[in-house]
Protein backbone atom coordinates (compact mmCIF):
# COMPACT_ATOMS: atom_id res chain seq x y z
CA UNK A 1 0.00 0.00 0.00
CA UNK A 2 1.44 3.32 -0.87
CA UNK A 3 0.44 6.69 0.33
CA UNK A 4 1.06 9.33 -2.29
CA UNK A 5 2.41 12.68 -1.23
CA UNK A 6 3.55 11.19 2.07
CA UNK A 7 7.31 11.13 1.78
CA UNK A 8 7.61 13.06 -1.45
CA UNK A 9 8.92 16.54 -1.23
CA UNK A 10 6.51 17.44 -3.98
CA UNK A 11 6.92 20.83 -5.57
CA UNK A 12 3.97 22.65 -7.05
CA UNK A 13 4.67 23.11 -10.76
CA UNK A 14 2.45 25.62 -12.54
CA UNK A 15 -0.09 23.55 -14.41
CA UNK A 16 0.20 25.76 -17.51
CA UNK A 17 3.78 24.57 -17.87
CA UNK A 18 2.58 21.11 -18.86
CA UNK A 19 2.09 21.26 -22.66
CA UNK A 20 -0.32 18.37 -23.10
CA UNK A 21 -2.50 19.45 -20.24
CA UNK A 22 -6.19 19.78 -20.98
CA UNK A 23 -7.92 21.94 -18.48
CA UNK A 24 -10.49 20.24 -16.21
CA UNK A 25 -13.20 22.09 -14.35
CA UNK A 26 -11.48 25.03 -12.71
CA UNK A 27 -12.97 24.56 -9.23
CA UNK A 28 -11.90 20.91 -8.97
CA UNK A 29 -8.43 21.89 -10.16
CA UNK A 30 -8.29 24.73 -7.68
CA UNK A 31 -9.41 22.49 -4.86
CA UNK A 32 -6.89 19.86 -5.90
CA UNK A 33 -4.10 22.45 -5.86
CA UNK A 34 -5.26 23.70 -2.49
CA UNK A 35 -5.21 20.11 -1.25
CA UNK A 36 -1.69 19.65 -2.60
CA UNK A 37 -0.56 22.90 -1.02
CA UNK A 38 -1.97 21.89 2.38
CA UNK A 39 -0.27 18.50 2.21
CA UNK A 40 3.10 19.89 1.18
CA UNK A 41 3.15 22.66 3.77
CA UNK A 42 1.85 20.47 6.61
CA UNK A 43 -1.16 22.75 7.02
CA UNK A 44 -3.71 20.13 8.09
CA UNK A 45 -5.09 18.74 11.31
CA UNK A 46 -4.67 15.32 12.88
CA UNK A 47 -6.51 14.41 16.06
CA UNK A 48 -4.86 13.25 19.26
CA UNK A 49 -4.98 9.62 18.07
CA UNK A 50 -3.13 10.58 14.88
CA UNK A 51 -6.26 10.43 12.65
CA UNK A 52 -5.67 12.38 9.45
CA UNK A 53 -9.23 12.80 8.15
CA UNK A 54 -8.19 14.53 4.94
CA UNK A 55 -5.65 11.89 3.95
CA UNK A 56 -8.13 9.14 4.79
CA UNK A 57 -10.98 10.64 2.74
CA UNK A 58 -9.04 11.96 -0.23
CA UNK A 59 -6.38 9.29 -0.67
CA UNK A 60 -6.75 6.16 1.42
CA UNK A 61 -10.48 5.49 0.93
CA UNK A 62 -10.18 6.36 -2.77
CA UNK A 63 -7.62 3.57 -3.10
CA UNK A 64 -9.68 1.03 -1.19
CA UNK A 65 -13.08 1.89 -2.71
CA UNK A 66 -12.66 -0.08 -6.00
CA UNK A 67 -12.15 -3.18 -3.88
CA UNK A 68 -15.42 -2.38 -2.11
CA UNK A 69 -17.58 -1.59 -5.12
CA UNK A 70 -16.05 -3.67 -7.92
CA UNK A 71 -14.20 -6.59 -6.41
CA UNK A 72 -16.39 -7.62 -3.46
CA UNK A 73 -19.59 -5.82 -4.60
CA UNK A 74 -20.37 -5.09 -0.95
CA UNK A 75 -24.04 -4.64 -0.11
CA UNK A 76 -25.20 -3.14 3.18
CA UNK A 77 -28.39 -4.14 4.99
CA UNK A 78 -30.32 -2.26 7.69
CA UNK A 79 -28.11 0.79 7.42
CA UNK A 80 -30.72 2.76 9.37
CA UNK A 81 -29.46 1.08 12.55
CA UNK A 82 -26.22 3.06 12.38
CA UNK A 83 -26.83 6.17 14.50
CA UNK A 84 -26.38 9.44 12.65
CA UNK A 85 -24.54 11.02 15.53
CA UNK A 86 -23.21 10.27 18.97
CA UNK A 87 -21.05 7.47 20.27
CA UNK A 88 -21.79 3.86 19.43
CA UNK A 89 -19.86 0.63 19.45
CA UNK A 90 -19.94 -1.42 16.27
CA UNK A 91 -19.23 -5.06 17.15
CA UNK A 92 -18.55 -7.33 14.18
CA UNK A 93 -17.35 -10.82 13.34
CA UNK A 94 -13.76 -11.06 12.13
CA UNK A 95 -12.61 -13.34 9.33
CA UNK A 96 -10.63 -13.64 6.15
CA UNK A 97 -7.04 -14.42 7.23
CA UNK A 98 -6.02 -10.82 6.50
CA UNK A 99 -8.20 -8.12 8.09
CA UNK A 100 -9.71 -6.92 4.81
CA UNK A 101 -13.10 -6.94 6.55
CA UNK A 102 -11.91 -4.04 8.71
CA UNK A 103 -11.19 -1.96 5.59
CA UNK A 104 -14.53 -2.82 4.00
CA UNK A 105 -16.43 -1.99 7.19
CA UNK A 106 -14.68 1.37 7.26
CA UNK A 107 -15.63 2.11 3.63
CA UNK A 108 -19.23 0.98 4.26
CA UNK A 109 -19.67 3.26 7.26
CA UNK A 110 -17.87 6.17 5.63
CA UNK A 111 -19.65 6.01 2.28
CA UNK A 112 -23.11 4.94 3.34
CA UNK A 113 -23.50 6.17 6.91
CA UNK A 114 -21.22 9.19 6.30
CA UNK A 115 -19.30 8.79 9.52
CA UNK A 116 -15.68 7.94 10.22
CA UNK A 117 -15.17 4.56 11.85
CA UNK A 118 -12.55 4.33 14.58
CA UNK A 119 -11.42 0.73 14.90
CA UNK A 120 -9.61 -0.78 17.85
CA UNK A 121 -6.67 -2.92 16.69
CA UNK A 122 -4.32 -5.49 18.16
CA UNK A 123 -1.04 -4.27 19.65
CA UNK A 124 0.86 -6.25 16.98
CA UNK A 125 -0.34 -3.66 14.45
CA UNK A 126 1.27 -0.82 16.39
CA UNK A 127 4.63 -2.55 16.66
CA UNK A 128 5.03 -2.99 12.92
CA UNK A 129 6.58 -0.22 10.83
CA UNK A 130 4.32 1.32 8.17
CA UNK A 131 1.21 -0.50 9.40
CA UNK A 132 1.30 1.28 12.75
CA UNK A 133 1.27 4.82 11.42
CA UNK A 134 -1.03 3.96 8.53
CA UNK A 135 -3.48 2.55 11.03
CA UNK A 136 -3.32 5.68 13.19
CA UNK A 137 -3.63 8.01 10.19
CA UNK A 138 -6.74 6.23 8.99
CA UNK A 139 -8.40 6.70 12.36
CA UNK A 140 -7.71 3.54 14.30
CA UNK A 141 -6.02 2.98 17.62
CA UNK A 142 -4.94 0.33 20.08
CA UNK A 143 -7.62 -1.88 21.60
CA UNK A 144 -7.35 -0.82 25.21
CA UNK A 145 -9.79 0.43 27.78
CA UNK A 146 -8.49 4.01 27.88
CA UNK A 147 -8.58 4.61 24.12
CA UNK A 148 -12.00 2.97 23.74
CA UNK A 149 -13.46 5.06 26.57
CA UNK A 150 -11.92 8.23 25.23
CA UNK A 151 -13.25 7.77 21.69
CA UNK A 152 -16.74 6.85 22.91
CA UNK A 153 -16.82 9.84 25.26
CA UNK A 154 -16.02 12.05 22.29
CA UNK A 155 -19.08 10.65 20.53
CA UNK A 156 -17.19 8.67 17.90
CA UNK A 157 -18.38 5.54 16.13
CA UNK A 158 -15.97 2.91 17.43
CA UNK A 159 -15.54 -0.51 15.82
CA UNK A 160 -14.24 -3.64 17.46
CA UNK A 161 -13.71 -7.29 16.52
CA UNK A 162 -13.91 -9.15 19.84
CA UNK A 163 -12.76 -12.44 18.30
CA UNK A 164 -9.39 -10.92 17.44
CA UNK A 165 -6.80 -13.25 15.89
CA UNK A 166 -8.91 -16.28 16.81
CA UNK A 167 -11.53 -15.05 14.37
CA UNK A 168 -9.49 -13.65 11.52
CA UNK A 169 -7.08 -16.60 11.52
CA UNK A 170 -9.52 -19.49 11.84
CA UNK A 171 -9.43 -22.32 9.27
CA UNK A 172 -11.82 -22.30 6.31
CA UNK A 173 -13.63 -25.34 7.73
CA UNK A 174 -14.85 -23.20 10.66
CA UNK A 175 -16.20 -20.38 8.53
CA UNK A 176 -19.10 -18.38 9.93
CA UNK A 177 -18.65 -19.94 13.39
CA UNK A 178 -18.05 -17.16 15.87
CA UNK A 179 -15.06 -17.71 18.13
CA UNK A 180 -14.85 -16.81 21.81
CA UNK A 181 -15.49 -13.12 22.55
CA UNK A 182 -12.56 -12.41 24.84
CA UNK A 183 -13.30 -10.98 28.25
CA UNK A 184 -16.07 -8.66 27.17
CA UNK A 185 -13.99 -5.52 27.61
CA UNK A 186 -15.95 -3.90 24.79
CA UNK A 187 -19.22 -4.32 26.72
CA UNK A 188 -17.70 -2.71 29.80
CA UNK A 189 -16.55 0.25 27.67
CA UNK A 190 -20.02 0.66 26.16
CA UNK A 191 -21.62 0.59 29.63
CA UNK A 192 -19.15 3.14 31.01
CA UNK A 193 -19.91 5.49 28.13
CA UNK A 194 -23.64 4.61 28.06
CA UNK A 195 -23.55 4.11 24.28
CA UNK A 196 -25.45 1.49 22.27
CA UNK A 197 -23.80 -1.68 20.96
CA UNK A 198 -24.42 -2.27 17.26
CA UNK A 199 -24.15 -5.99 16.43
CA UNK A 200 -22.81 -6.31 12.89
CA UNK A 201 -22.48 -9.33 10.62
CA UNK A 202 -20.01 -9.41 7.72
CA UNK A 203 -20.59 -12.17 5.17
CA UNK A 204 -18.11 -12.76 2.37
CA UNK A 205 -14.78 -12.18 4.04
CA UNK A 206 -14.50 -15.85 4.97
CA UNK A 207 -14.00 -16.83 1.31
CA UNK A 208 -11.32 -14.32 0.26
CA UNK A 209 -8.34 -16.35 1.50
CA UNK A 210 -9.59 -19.85 2.40
CA UNK A 211 -7.10 -20.91 5.08
CA UNK A 212 -6.47 -24.62 4.73
CA UNK A 213 -3.19 -24.84 6.63
CA UNK A 214 -0.94 -22.99 9.00
CA UNK A 215 2.88 -22.79 8.88
CA UNK A 216 3.09 -22.64 12.67
CA UNK A 217 6.84 -22.99 12.88
CA UNK A 218 7.56 -20.12 10.48
CA UNK A 219 4.85 -18.00 12.13
CA UNK A 220 6.50 -18.42 15.50
CA UNK A 221 9.86 -17.53 13.98
CA UNK A 222 8.49 -14.21 12.69
CA UNK A 223 6.47 -13.55 15.84
CA UNK A 224 3.17 -13.73 13.93
CA UNK A 225 -0.01 -15.30 15.30
CA UNK A 226 -0.27 -17.57 12.23
CA UNK A 227 1.08 -17.95 8.70
CA UNK A 228 -1.71 -19.19 6.43
CA UNK A 229 -1.67 -21.68 3.60
CA UNK A 230 -4.46 -21.08 1.10
CA UNK A 231 -5.14 -22.93 -2.17
CA UNK A 232 -3.05 -20.23 -3.91
CA UNK A 233 -0.59 -19.10 -1.25
CA UNK A 234 2.30 -19.73 -1.07
CA UNK A 235 1.83 -21.89 -4.18
CA UNK A 236 1.45 -18.98 -6.62
CA UNK A 237 3.70 -16.60 -4.70
CA UNK A 238 2.58 -12.97 -4.67
CA UNK A 239 -0.31 -13.82 -7.02
CA UNK A 240 -1.71 -15.93 -4.20
CA UNK A 241 -2.15 -12.71 -2.23
CA UNK A 242 -4.94 -11.54 -4.54
CA UNK A 243 -8.15 -12.01 -2.54
CA UNK A 244 -10.82 -14.17 -4.16
CA UNK A 245 -13.72 -12.00 -5.41
CA UNK A 246 -16.44 -13.32 -3.14
CA UNK A 247 -19.78 -11.54 -2.83
CA UNK A 248 -20.02 -9.55 0.43
CA UNK A 249 -22.90 -8.38 2.57
CA UNK A 250 -22.75 -6.31 5.76
CA UNK A 251 -25.75 -6.16 8.07
CA UNK A 252 -26.16 -3.79 10.99
CA UNK A 253 -28.41 -5.19 13.72
CA UNK A 254 -30.77 -3.48 16.16
CA UNK A 255 -28.75 -1.39 18.64
CA UNK A 256 -28.48 -2.93 22.09
CA UNK A 257 -28.88 -0.15 24.64
CA UNK A 258 -26.55 0.10 27.61
CA UNK A 259 -27.64 3.48 29.00
CA UNK A 260 -30.12 1.86 31.38
CA UNK A 261 -27.19 0.60 33.46
CA UNK A 262 -25.16 2.75 35.83
CA UNK A 263 -21.58 3.32 34.62
CA UNK A 264 -20.42 1.38 37.69
CA UNK A 265 -22.23 -1.69 36.33
CA UNK A 266 -19.22 -2.05 34.01
CA UNK A 267 -17.45 -3.61 37.02
CA UNK A 268 -20.11 -6.30 37.42
CA UNK A 269 -18.59 -9.35 35.65
CA UNK A 270 -21.88 -11.27 35.60
CA UNK A 271 -23.71 -8.49 33.77
CA UNK A 272 -20.80 -7.95 31.36
CA UNK A 273 -20.64 -11.67 30.52
CA UNK A 274 -24.38 -11.84 30.00
CA UNK A 275 -24.42 -8.92 27.60
CA UNK A 276 -21.32 -10.29 25.83
CA UNK A 277 -23.09 -13.63 25.28
CA UNK A 278 -26.20 -11.88 24.10
CA UNK A 279 -24.27 -9.81 21.54
CA UNK A 280 -22.47 -12.92 20.36
CA UNK A 281 -25.70 -14.85 19.88
CA UNK A 282 -27.29 -11.97 17.99
CA UNK A 283 -24.32 -11.74 15.61
CA UNK A 284 -24.24 -15.53 15.09
CA UNK A 285 -27.94 -15.49 14.25
CA UNK A 286 -27.47 -12.58 11.84
CA UNK A 287 -24.57 -14.42 10.19
CA UNK A 288 -26.71 -17.50 9.49
CA UNK A 289 -29.54 -15.48 8.00
CA UNK A 290 -27.33 -13.17 5.99
CA UNK A 291 -25.35 -16.09 4.57
CA UNK A 292 -28.56 -17.72 3.35
CA UNK A 293 -29.71 -14.42 1.90
CA UNK A 294 -26.43 -13.94 0.03
CA UNK A 295 -26.47 -17.41 -1.50
CA UNK A 296 -23.38 -18.51 -3.39
CA UNK A 297 -20.08 -16.92 -2.50
CA UNK A 298 -18.97 -16.62 -6.12
CA UNK A 299 -22.02 -15.95 -8.26
CA UNK A 300 -22.72 -16.85 -11.00
CA UNK A 301 -20.16 -19.65 -10.98
CA UNK A 302 -20.65 -21.35 -7.62
Amino acid sequence: MSVPSEEDDARVIPISAAPSFTEPEPDSLASFLAFLRRRVTGDYEVDEFGYDAELTDKVFLELVRPLYTRWFRVETVELKNVPEEGGALVVANHSGTLPVDALMLQVAIHDEAHRPLRLLGADLVYQLPLLSHLSRKTGHTLACREDADRLLRKGELVGVFPEGFKGVGKPFSERYKLQRFGRGGFVASAIRAGVPILPTAIVGAEEIYPKIGDLKFLARMFGLPYLPVTPFFPLLGPLGLVPLPSKWMIQFGEPIRTDEYEPTAADDPMLVFNITDHVREVIQQMLHELRLRRGHAFPPFL
Binding site: D9, G42, V46, H133
Partner: protein
Amino acid sequence: MTHTVLVTGVSRHIGARVASVLAADPDISRVIGVDTVPPLSLTRDGGISLGRIEFVRVDLRSPDIAQVIAAADIDTVVHMSLVSAPSGSGGRAAMKEHNVIGTMQLLGACQRSATVRRVVVRSTTAVYGSSPRDPAVFTEDLEPHDGPSHGYAKDAVEIEGYVRGFARRRPDVTVSLLRFANFMGPGVDSPLTRYFTQPVLPTVLGFDPRLQFVHEDDAVEVLRRMATEDHPGTFNVAGAGVLLLSQCARRAGRPSLPLLSPAFKMLGNAARRIGLVEYSPEQLRLMSHGRAVDTGRLEAELGWKPKFTTGAAFDDFLRSRGLHPFGGVPS
Protein backbone atom coordinates in the same frame (compact mmCIF):
# COMPACT_ATOMS: atom_id res chain seq x y z
CA MET B 1 0.71 38.25 52.56
CA THR B 2 4.18 38.63 51.18
CA HIS B 3 6.06 35.69 49.79
CA THR B 4 9.64 34.68 49.36
CA VAL B 5 10.14 32.39 46.40
CA LEU B 6 13.10 30.20 45.56
CA VAL B 7 13.53 29.28 41.89
CA THR B 8 16.07 26.63 40.92
CA GLY B 9 17.45 26.33 37.41
CA VAL B 10 17.20 30.10 37.03
CA SER B 11 20.07 30.29 34.54
CA ARG B 12 18.04 28.43 31.94
CA HIS B 13 15.60 30.18 29.69
CA ILE B 14 12.28 29.09 31.20
CA GLY B 15 13.65 29.30 34.76
CA ALA B 16 14.78 32.87 34.18
CA ARG B 17 11.43 33.83 32.67
CA VAL B 18 9.49 32.31 35.56
CA ALA B 19 11.72 34.09 38.08
CA SER B 20 11.28 37.46 36.39
CA VAL B 21 7.50 37.05 36.14
CA LEU B 22 7.37 36.21 39.84
CA ALA B 23 9.62 39.16 40.65
CA ALA B 24 7.12 41.44 38.89
CA ASP B 25 4.30 40.17 41.15
CA PRO B 26 3.59 42.74 43.90
CA ASP B 27 2.56 40.00 46.34
CA ILE B 28 6.02 38.49 46.23
CA SER B 29 8.59 40.30 48.28
CA ARG B 30 11.71 38.40 47.32
CA VAL B 31 12.72 36.06 44.52
CA ILE B 32 15.89 34.09 45.03
CA GLY B 33 17.26 32.30 42.01
CA VAL B 34 19.76 29.51 42.31
CA ASP B 35 21.72 27.56 39.72
CA THR B 36 25.09 25.99 39.21
CA VAL B 37 26.09 28.60 36.62
CA PRO B 38 25.39 32.34 36.63
CA PRO B 39 22.40 33.47 34.53
CA LEU B 40 22.96 34.71 31.00
CA SER B 41 22.09 38.30 31.85
CA LEU B 42 24.97 38.43 34.31
CA THR B 43 27.50 36.99 31.90
CA ARG B 44 26.61 38.63 28.63
CA ASP B 45 23.91 40.58 26.89
CA GLY B 46 20.84 38.96 25.45
CA GLY B 47 19.63 37.12 28.51
CA ILE B 48 16.43 38.02 30.26
CA SER B 49 16.88 40.85 32.73
CA LEU B 50 16.75 39.36 36.18
CA GLY B 51 15.74 42.69 37.73
CA ARG B 52 15.29 42.35 41.44
CA ILE B 53 15.99 38.65 41.53
CA GLU B 54 18.75 37.74 43.93
CA PHE B 55 21.04 35.14 42.45
CA VAL B 56 22.85 32.58 44.57
CA ARG B 57 25.26 30.21 42.95
CA VAL B 58 24.63 26.85 44.56
CA ASP B 59 25.41 23.37 43.45
CA LEU B 60 22.15 21.56 44.21
CA ARG B 61 24.05 18.37 44.89
CA SER B 62 25.60 19.92 48.00
CA PRO B 63 23.71 20.58 51.26
CA ASP B 64 24.28 24.35 50.80
CA ILE B 65 20.73 24.71 49.50
CA ALA B 66 19.44 23.98 53.02
CA GLN B 67 21.25 27.08 54.28
CA VAL B 68 19.76 29.23 51.55
CA ILE B 69 16.24 28.04 52.41
CA ALA B 70 16.78 28.49 56.15
CA ALA B 71 18.44 31.89 55.86
CA ALA B 72 15.82 33.50 53.65
CA ASP B 73 12.60 32.12 55.21
CA ILE B 74 11.52 30.72 51.85
CA ASP B 75 7.84 29.79 51.63
CA THR B 76 7.55 28.75 47.98
CA VAL B 77 10.01 26.58 46.07
CA VAL B 78 9.85 26.28 42.28
CA HIS B 79 12.15 23.48 41.22
CA MET B 80 12.99 23.90 37.55
CA SER B 81 16.45 22.48 37.56
CA LEU B 82 15.99 19.37 35.50
CA VAL B 83 18.71 18.81 32.92
CA SER B 84 17.37 17.06 29.86
CA ALA B 85 20.58 16.21 28.07
CA PRO B 86 24.11 15.37 29.15
CA SER B 87 26.26 18.43 28.64
CA GLY B 88 29.92 18.61 27.76
CA SER B 89 30.94 18.74 31.39
CA GLY B 90 30.74 15.35 33.02
CA GLY B 91 28.23 13.68 30.70
CA ARG B 92 25.48 11.38 31.78
CA ALA B 93 26.74 10.58 35.29
CA ALA B 94 26.93 14.25 36.25
CA MET B 95 23.51 14.86 34.71
CA LYS B 96 21.95 12.07 36.74
CA GLU B 97 23.59 13.38 39.92
CA HIS B 98 22.42 16.89 39.21
CA ASN B 99 18.86 15.76 38.53
CA VAL B 100 18.30 13.09 41.15
CA ILE B 101 20.72 13.95 43.99
CA GLY B 102 19.98 17.63 43.47
CA THR B 103 16.26 17.05 43.90
CA MET B 104 16.84 14.87 46.96
CA GLN B 105 18.92 17.59 48.59
CA LEU B 106 16.36 20.24 47.79
CA LEU B 107 13.42 18.17 49.06
CA GLY B 108 15.42 17.23 52.16
CA ALA B 109 15.96 20.91 52.87
CA CYS B 110 12.26 21.64 52.30
CA GLN B 111 11.25 18.83 54.62
CA ARG B 112 13.28 20.36 57.46
CA SER B 113 12.15 23.87 56.79
CA ALA B 114 9.35 25.24 58.93
CA THR B 115 8.58 28.04 56.46
CA VAL B 116 8.11 26.20 53.14
CA ARG B 117 4.39 26.00 52.31
CA ARG B 118 4.38 25.27 48.61
CA VAL B 119 6.61 23.22 46.33
CA VAL B 120 6.28 23.21 42.55
CA VAL B 121 8.35 20.67 40.64
CA ARG B 122 8.92 20.59 36.91
CA SER B 123 8.77 17.12 35.43
CA THR B 124 8.19 15.89 31.92
CA THR B 125 5.68 13.83 29.94
CA ALA B 126 8.67 11.63 29.06
CA VAL B 127 7.88 9.73 32.29
CA TYR B 128 5.15 7.96 30.30
CA GLY B 129 7.69 6.55 27.87
CA SER B 130 6.62 5.67 24.33
CA SER B 131 5.32 2.27 23.55
CA PRO B 132 3.08 0.60 20.98
CA ARG B 133 1.27 -1.14 23.84
CA ASP B 134 0.16 1.99 25.68
CA PRO B 135 -2.98 4.06 25.17
CA ALA B 136 -2.76 6.84 22.60
CA VAL B 137 -3.38 9.60 25.15
CA PHE B 138 -1.95 9.51 28.65
CA THR B 139 -3.82 10.81 31.66
CA GLU B 140 -1.99 11.52 34.91
CA ASP B 141 -3.13 8.30 36.60
CA LEU B 142 -1.99 5.92 33.88
CA GLU B 143 0.78 3.48 34.67
CA PRO B 144 2.80 3.12 31.47
CA HIS B 145 3.41 -0.38 30.11
CA ASP B 146 7.09 0.12 29.48
CA GLY B 147 8.30 2.95 31.63
CA PRO B 148 11.47 4.74 30.58
CA SER B 149 14.65 2.88 31.42
CA HIS B 150 17.24 5.40 30.32
CA GLY B 151 18.48 8.90 30.75
CA TYR B 152 16.47 11.98 31.37
CA ALA B 153 13.08 10.26 31.47
CA LYS B 154 14.35 7.74 34.04
CA ASP B 155 15.68 10.63 36.14
CA ALA B 156 12.28 12.27 35.98
CA VAL B 157 10.57 9.05 37.11
CA GLU B 158 12.93 8.84 40.08
CA ILE B 159 12.47 12.51 40.91
CA GLU B 160 8.69 12.06 40.87
CA GLY B 161 9.11 9.18 43.31
CA TYR B 162 10.97 11.44 45.74
CA VAL B 163 8.44 14.23 45.26
CA ARG B 164 5.58 11.86 46.12
CA GLY B 165 7.50 10.66 49.16
CA PHE B 166 7.98 14.26 50.26
CA ALA B 167 4.28 15.02 49.75
CA ARG B 168 3.41 12.08 52.02
CA ARG B 169 5.82 13.12 54.74
CA ARG B 170 4.78 16.78 54.69
CA PRO B 171 1.02 16.75 54.03
CA ASP B 172 0.89 20.38 55.19
CA VAL B 173 2.91 21.48 52.14
CA THR B 174 1.12 21.99 48.81
CA VAL B 175 3.01 19.97 46.22
CA SER B 176 2.39 20.51 42.51
CA LEU B 177 4.08 18.20 40.05
CA LEU B 178 3.97 19.44 36.46
CA ARG B 179 4.62 17.11 33.57
CA PHE B 180 5.50 19.35 30.65
CA ALA B 181 5.45 18.31 27.00
CA ASN B 182 8.49 19.48 25.01
CA PHE B 183 8.99 23.22 25.32
CA MET B 184 8.70 25.12 22.06
CA GLY B 185 9.10 28.81 21.31
CA PRO B 186 11.46 31.52 20.15
CA GLY B 187 13.72 31.34 23.20
CA VAL B 188 13.81 27.59 23.68
CA ASP B 189 17.02 25.75 22.98
CA SER B 190 16.55 22.00 23.50
CA PRO B 191 17.67 18.82 21.73
CA LEU B 192 14.33 18.86 19.91
CA THR B 193 14.56 22.47 18.71
CA ARG B 194 18.10 21.78 17.52
CA TYR B 195 16.80 18.70 15.73
CA PHE B 196 14.29 20.75 13.75
CA THR B 197 16.89 23.29 12.65
CA GLN B 198 19.08 20.64 11.03
CA PRO B 199 19.21 20.75 7.21
CA VAL B 200 17.88 17.17 6.96
CA LEU B 201 15.72 15.43 9.54
CA PRO B 202 16.53 11.76 10.10
CA THR B 203 13.35 9.82 10.89
CA VAL B 204 12.59 6.19 11.65
CA LEU B 205 11.40 4.40 8.51
CA GLY B 206 7.78 3.34 8.65
CA PHE B 207 6.89 5.38 11.73
CA ASP B 208 5.33 8.80 12.05
CA PRO B 209 5.12 9.70 15.73
CA ARG B 210 2.65 12.10 17.30
CA LEU B 211 4.44 14.95 19.06
CA GLN B 212 3.11 17.52 21.47
CA PHE B 213 4.59 20.86 22.43
CA VAL B 214 3.93 23.50 25.03
CA HIS B 215 4.73 27.10 24.19
CA GLU B 216 7.18 28.79 26.54
CA ASP B 217 4.70 31.59 27.35
CA ASP B 218 2.13 29.03 28.47
CA ALA B 219 4.72 27.11 30.46
CA VAL B 220 5.71 30.31 32.28
CA GLU B 221 2.06 31.16 32.96
CA VAL B 222 1.33 27.69 34.38
CA LEU B 223 4.40 27.88 36.62
CA ARG B 224 3.44 31.38 37.77
CA ARG B 225 -0.04 30.24 38.75
CA MET B 226 1.24 27.15 40.47
CA ALA B 227 3.77 29.24 42.42
CA THR B 228 1.22 31.83 43.56
CA GLU B 229 -1.90 29.70 44.12
CA ASP B 230 -2.51 26.33 45.80
CA HIS B 231 -2.99 23.60 43.20
CA PRO B 232 -1.86 20.33 44.74
CA GLY B 233 -1.48 17.31 42.49
CA THR B 234 0.10 16.06 39.31
CA PHE B 235 -0.75 17.80 36.06
CA ASN B 236 0.08 17.27 32.40
CA VAL B 237 0.92 20.50 30.59
CA ALA B 238 0.78 20.56 26.79
CA GLY B 239 -0.67 22.60 23.97
CA ALA B 240 -3.92 21.28 22.52
CA GLY B 241 -3.68 18.83 19.64
CA VAL B 242 -0.77 16.96 18.18
CA LEU B 243 1.55 17.28 15.21
CA LEU B 244 2.94 14.32 13.35
CA LEU B 245 6.68 14.35 12.80
CA SER B 246 6.11 14.34 9.02
CA GLN B 247 3.86 17.38 9.47
CA CYS B 248 6.54 19.17 11.52
CA ALA B 249 9.11 18.48 8.83
CA ARG B 250 6.81 19.87 6.14
CA ARG B 251 6.01 22.97 8.14
CA ALA B 252 9.72 23.50 8.71
CA GLY B 253 10.38 22.93 5.01
CA ARG B 254 13.00 20.35 5.86
CA PRO B 255 13.40 17.12 3.90
CA SER B 256 13.23 14.03 6.05
CA LEU B 257 15.55 11.08 5.72
CA PRO B 258 13.79 7.84 6.72
CA LEU B 259 16.21 5.32 8.18
CA LEU B 260 15.70 1.77 9.40
CA SER B 261 15.63 1.87 13.17
CA PRO B 262 19.08 0.21 13.63
CA ALA B 263 20.55 2.78 11.23
CA PHE B 264 18.80 5.60 13.09
CA LYS B 265 20.30 4.33 16.33
CA MET B 266 23.78 4.11 14.79
CA LEU B 267 23.56 7.59 13.33
CA GLY B 268 22.34 8.94 16.65
CA ASN B 269 25.19 7.35 18.54
CA ALA B 270 27.75 8.56 16.01
CA ALA B 271 26.38 12.10 16.11
CA ARG B 272 26.49 12.07 19.88
CA ARG B 273 30.08 10.89 19.93
CA ILE B 274 31.25 13.77 17.77
CA GLY B 275 29.12 16.12 19.84
CA LEU B 276 26.62 17.10 17.15
CA VAL B 277 23.41 16.21 18.93
CA GLU B 278 22.34 14.72 22.22
CA TYR B 279 20.94 11.34 21.38
CA SER B 280 19.59 8.79 23.83
CA PRO B 281 17.80 5.48 23.32
CA GLU B 282 14.44 6.80 24.48
CA GLN B 283 14.56 9.25 21.60
CA LEU B 284 14.38 6.32 19.18
CA ARG B 285 11.20 5.19 20.95
CA LEU B 286 9.70 8.68 20.90
CA MET B 287 10.60 8.97 17.21
CA SER B 288 8.87 5.63 16.57
CA HIS B 289 5.78 5.61 18.73
CA GLY B 290 5.30 9.22 19.80
CA ARG B 291 3.31 10.37 22.79
CA ALA B 292 0.30 12.54 23.58
CA VAL B 293 -1.14 13.53 26.93
CA ASP B 294 -4.49 14.66 28.21
CA THR B 295 -4.53 18.13 29.78
CA GLY B 296 -8.10 18.07 31.06
CA ARG B 297 -7.07 17.98 34.70
CA LEU B 298 -4.91 21.10 34.42
CA GLU B 299 -7.60 23.00 32.52
CA ALA B 300 -10.25 22.09 35.08
CA GLU B 301 -7.98 23.02 37.99
CA LEU B 302 -6.88 26.38 36.64
CA GLY B 303 -9.99 27.23 34.65
CA TRP B 304 -7.59 28.22 31.92
CA LYS B 305 -6.26 26.77 28.68
CA PRO B 306 -2.83 27.17 27.12
CA LYS B 307 -2.98 30.05 24.61
CA PHE B 308 -0.93 28.18 22.03
CA THR B 309 -1.98 24.86 20.55
CA THR B 310 0.80 22.42 19.73
CA GLY B 311 0.65 23.57 16.12
CA ALA B 312 0.68 27.27 17.00
CA ALA B 313 3.62 26.79 19.38
CA PHE B 314 5.58 25.04 16.65
CA ASP B 315 4.71 27.72 14.07
CA ASP B 316 5.86 30.41 16.49
CA PHE B 317 9.14 28.58 16.92
CA LEU B 318 9.53 28.26 13.13
CA ARG B 319 8.87 31.99 12.64
CA SER B 320 11.53 32.87 15.17
CA ARG B 321 14.08 30.71 13.36
CA GLY B 322 13.06 31.91 9.91
CA LEU B 323 11.93 28.45 8.83
CA HIS B 324 9.01 28.08 6.44
CA PRO B 325 7.39 25.32 4.38
CA PHE B 326 8.39 24.48 0.82
CA GLY B 327 7.47 27.27 -1.53
CA GLY B 328 5.71 29.58 0.86
CA VAL B 329 5.14 31.30 4.13
CA PRO B 330 2.89 29.60 6.69
CA SER B 331 -0.59 31.04 6.60
